[in-house]
Amino acid sequence: MSVLIFLIPLALILSIIGLLAFSWCLKNKQYDDLEGSSKRILFDDDKDQKK
């Protein structure tokens, strides 16, 4: 059972990373235009588009 000492923090750290990634997305306004993003992924020649 001593493996739990290692696994529990690991599980928690991984999910906290996920949570942080989500709040980063939210802060970067990635949730502001869900409709547009779903269409944008289909543009095929945006290699020369500026960021």
């Binding site: 059972m1 999910s15 906290i16 949570l19 502001d32 269409k39």
Partner: protein, 819 residues
């Protein structure tokens, strides 16, 4: 998809027989621009439907946007609402064009809000040049006033989403430990391990609970201050008590901790809140776009130059130019020009008001004829509009307050539940002399199991689905409470102009004026006259000209039409073309009587006699060679008004017509629609006073209106409805906006709301029955965390499944509800 030959290649309007590929020069230009840029992929990938008709470019419109640019370091930024945007291809096209412009740093479109955010280098005025191409290909750009973007709302949305994510993270992870704790007790897994797991639960549970329940705590606190306890109060109390008891248990090495139950509760409730917010936002976004469609800028004369400025920058003493068909944006005095003004949004009058130099004009009215110049004579905050807004602000505390089901329920439910929990504690501790711990545990179990999870979901879930469904039925619900309140309505008060009538003139009759006699033109001949008239008026913006052009589908092309300011239109046409006997060119004139040289004095009396059923009317004249034609226009009753009023009456609703218009105009409409109660010539204040008498009688009522003069009355109503083409003010106030010109959606509103309230009541019953069953078990101490979790999820699930049934109503005509 290939473009069919009979449609315009650019805007997809169906072409007339003599046109090939394009319907107008503007579309041809637009198509060429896009081709030259090598972007014709756009035509292949866009969605082909009617909304592309809006892409017909308006060549006259030359927008100057530099006053709306904001400086940010070296960059300039601007936000614009893009009209005509309807699919991903549009986004691709506009972003591609703009981002290829070397002056542009970044252009990005938000498709949900239909907003273009642009930052660019160089001078402010460059913006006009950069964006000219977008206007040329048919998208119309409007300055987007940052004030309209409600940053408070955005902050709330983001914090709600964050809280939802955090509580989801918490309730997911805590299950890893809860499962072990549910199925093994301290003897099986060892006391140390048992307590370790409880501590880990606390480690996850406590911070997550504190973070994600803030919304509930805040709302509960506010409800306590206002002495109106809401559902969030028992929720908050259950969360706080469960946390305290669980921490205490964890330290003491007790049997049960309730962090998982509390977290799951918060997670479910936040989902409900998030869905509710999303539906409201969708309706709100559409409503905001309507508000923006009305111009929020004005042309002023500044030292011989014409400058476009935002309305809010208009100050006393400025001279504002108002062109034909434009809204007057300030109170002022006419200093140049003569015209007629449509005051219907201010006072409900259909008849136009003549103005000349020295006349006073008000914000919100529309200039119908000749361009005028207006000198602003009042500060914005003293204008009539500002005074009406003040009336509305004062109306807030007068508004008839109807108690909502949720409030009523929680005012009984909350004290009752707390009483039961308290009695449970007394029962165990004082009567059965059990330990303090044991008694407290059971009392907490009661609080957790009765925590109105399903109860709190019961109403928002139904509201969410209903609001989404109503969008497809052309109803925008801005205020979710309206759905419930609609069911209490017994009385409906209608405004006349723009509500029961179209609010715009329509051609109703054509007469031939032959030697002092009026002869009504036969149906077959009508088409002939209309085609000629429409050929002259097709490019004019004048309201009467528009009323003519919309009546005819056929036009004579390539006419050289001369427009004479505020008098009329004239053109010459080959006689044989219009099967006139003469072979030479014939002069055609449309306009005022003096312009057409119509001087038969008796016609007007005769006309009034003929039209006594139709008053008040507007007349316009046409002369084809020597033929004299009188065209009669009227603001007509909406074609579904009679049907809707009759059906509402059938449902036992009391109908009242409350108008600012003249007696005969109101009387005719009331008689036609068989409305017995009608009131006329009511000013803004009188309308509001009339409404207040209703509130004193405690009668819930609905107000339907579109004008600025209706706005104070709308703000007082139990439920207020406005239209998408109404004045901004009434749209902002209304609880519900009808996204069309029809009245039919009102019936849908009643029907849908009735369904919704029925399902809400069923939901509440499900939740209450579940509580009734669970409470006795909690009291005797049989509800352990696992049972609580199962009961809570299953009752919530049942409520959600029951709520989805309401989709049936919205799917009736295959409009799939987007939920």
């Amino acid at each position: 998809m290939t473009i069919k030959n009979n449609k315009c290649k650019h805007c997809e309007i169906i072409l007339q027989s003599n046109q090939t590929d394009f319907c107008c020069l503007g579309c041809q230009n637009a198509y060429q621009i896009i081709n030259q840029l090598g972007l014709n992929n756009y035509y292949n990938s866009r969605i082909n439907n009617e909304s592309n008709h809006n892409l017909k470019p308006d060549l006259k419109n030359n927008l100057l946007l530099d006053d709306f640019v904001e400086k940010n370091g070296v960059n300039h930024n601007i936000s614009l609402l893009v009209q005509g945007l309807n699919c991903g291809a549009c986004v691709w096209l506009i972003e591609k064009i703009l981002n290829d412009d070397p002056r542009v740093i970044n252009a990005r479109i938000n498709l949900t809000k239909k907003i273009l955010n642009l930052s660019f280098l160089g001078k402010k005025t460059e913006i006009n040049d950069i964006l000219a191409i977008i206007e040329k290909i048919g998208y119309k750009l409007l300055p987007y006033d940052q004030e309209i973007i409600n940053s408070e709302e955005k902050k709330y949305n983001d914090s709600l989403l964050k809280a939802l994510a955090v509580s989801g993270f918490g309730s997911g992870n805590i299950m890893l430990f809860s499962f072990a704790l549910w199925f093994c007790d301290a003897n099986e897994m060892g006391i140390a391990m048992h307590q370790f797991f409880q501590f880990i639960s606390a480690l996850i549970g406590l911070p997550v609970l504190i973070y994600s329940s803030r919304i509930f705590f805040k709302s509960a606190y506010n409800s306590l201050i206002n002495h109106r306890p809401n559902m969030d109060l028992p929720i908050s109390l259950a969360i706080v008590l469960a946390s305290i008891v669980s921490v205490y248990q964890a330290f003491k090495g007790g049997n049960h901790v309730y962090f998982d139950s509390a977290l799951m509760l918060v997670f479910f409730l936040l989902i409900g809140k998030y869905l509710d917010m999303k539906a409201r936002k969708k309706a709100f976004n559409i409503a905001t776009q309507f508000t923006l469609l009305n111009r929020n800028y004005a042309r002023i004369i500044d030292q011989e130059n014409i400058k476009i400025i935002p309305i809010k920058n208009i100050a006393k003493g400025m001279i504002v130019m108002v062109s034909t068909g434009d809204k007057i944006v300030c109170d002022g005095i006419v200093i140049e020009g003569e015209s007629e003004i449509d005051m219907s949004l201010i006072n409900g009058e259909t008849r136009l008001t003549k103005v000349s130099i020295g006349s006073e004009v008000y914000a919100g009215t529309i200039n119908m004829f000749q361009p005028i110049k207006v000198k602003v004579n009042k500060q914005a905050n003293q204008s009539m509009l500002a005074q009406i807004i003040e009336l509305i602000n004062n109306a807030d505390h007068k508004k008839s307050s109807s108690i909502l089901l949720a409030e009523k329920l929680s005012s009984y439910y909350t004290p009752l539940v707390h009483l039961i929990a308290f009695l449970t504690f007394i029962l165990w501790y004082f009567i059965f002399k059990k330990s303090f711990d044991y008694s407290l545990m059971n009392a907490t179990a009661v609080l957790i199991i009765t925590c109105p999870c399903a109860l709190a979901l019961a109403i928002p879930i139904v509201n969410t689905i209903t609001i989404s469904g109503f969008i497809n039925k052309k109803l925008l619900i801005k205020n979710g409470e309206a759905i419930e309140k609609v069911n209490q309505i017994k009385t409906i008060i209608f405004d006349k102009t723009g509500t029961l009538t179209n609010g715009a003139v329509n051609l109703i009759k054509i007469y031939l004026l032959d030697a002092d006699k009026l002869i009504e033109v036969k149906e077959s001949k009508k088409k002939y006259y209309l085609k000629i008239a429409a050929s002259l008026t097709q490019n004019s913006n004048h309201p009467i000209a528009k009323a003519i052009s919309t009546q005819s589908k056929e036009f004579y092309q390539n006419l050289h039409v001369i427009e004479e300011k505020s008098l009329g239109l004239s053109a010459k046409i080959a006689g044989n073309l219009i099967d006139h006997q003469a072979n030479q060119n014939i002069e055609i004139k449309i306009g005022r009587a003096d312009f057409c040289k119509i001087n038969n004095a008796n016609y007007y009396q005769q006309l009034l006699l003929e039209l006594h059923n139709y008053q008040p009317v507007l007349t316009s004249f046409m002369k084809i060679g020597e033929e004299q034609i009188v065209m009669v226009f009227q603001d007509q009753i909406k074609n579904d008004a009679g049907d809707v009023i009759a059906k509402l009456k059938q449902q036992g609703k009391e109908i009242i017509l409350l108008s600012g218009d003249q007696k005969n105009a109101v009387e005719i409409v009331a008689n036609k629609l068989q409305i017995n109660q009608f009131y006329y010539q009511k000013t803004v204040l009188e309308k509001a006073q009339f409404i207040e008498s209703f509130i004193k009688q405690k009668k819930p009522f609905m107000m339907i209106g579109d004008g600025i003069n209706d706005a104070p009355s709308l703000s007082l109503a139990t439920v207020s409805i406005s239209f998408n083409n109404a004045s901004d003010l009434s749209k902002n106030i209304a609880d519900v906006i009808i996204n069309s010109n029809q009245l039919q959606p009102i019936l849908d509103l009643f029907l849908g709301s009735k369904k919704a309230i029925k399902i809400i009541k069923q939901n509440l019953a499900i939740a209450l029955i579940y509580n009734l069953i669970a409470i006795p078990f909690a009291i005797i101490g049989m509800i352990v965390p696992m049972i609580a979790a199962i009961a809570m999820s299953s009752s919530s699930l049942m409520v959600i499944i029951n709520s989805i049934r309401i989709n049936k109503f919205f799917n009736l005509d295959k409009n799939k509800c987007q939920f």
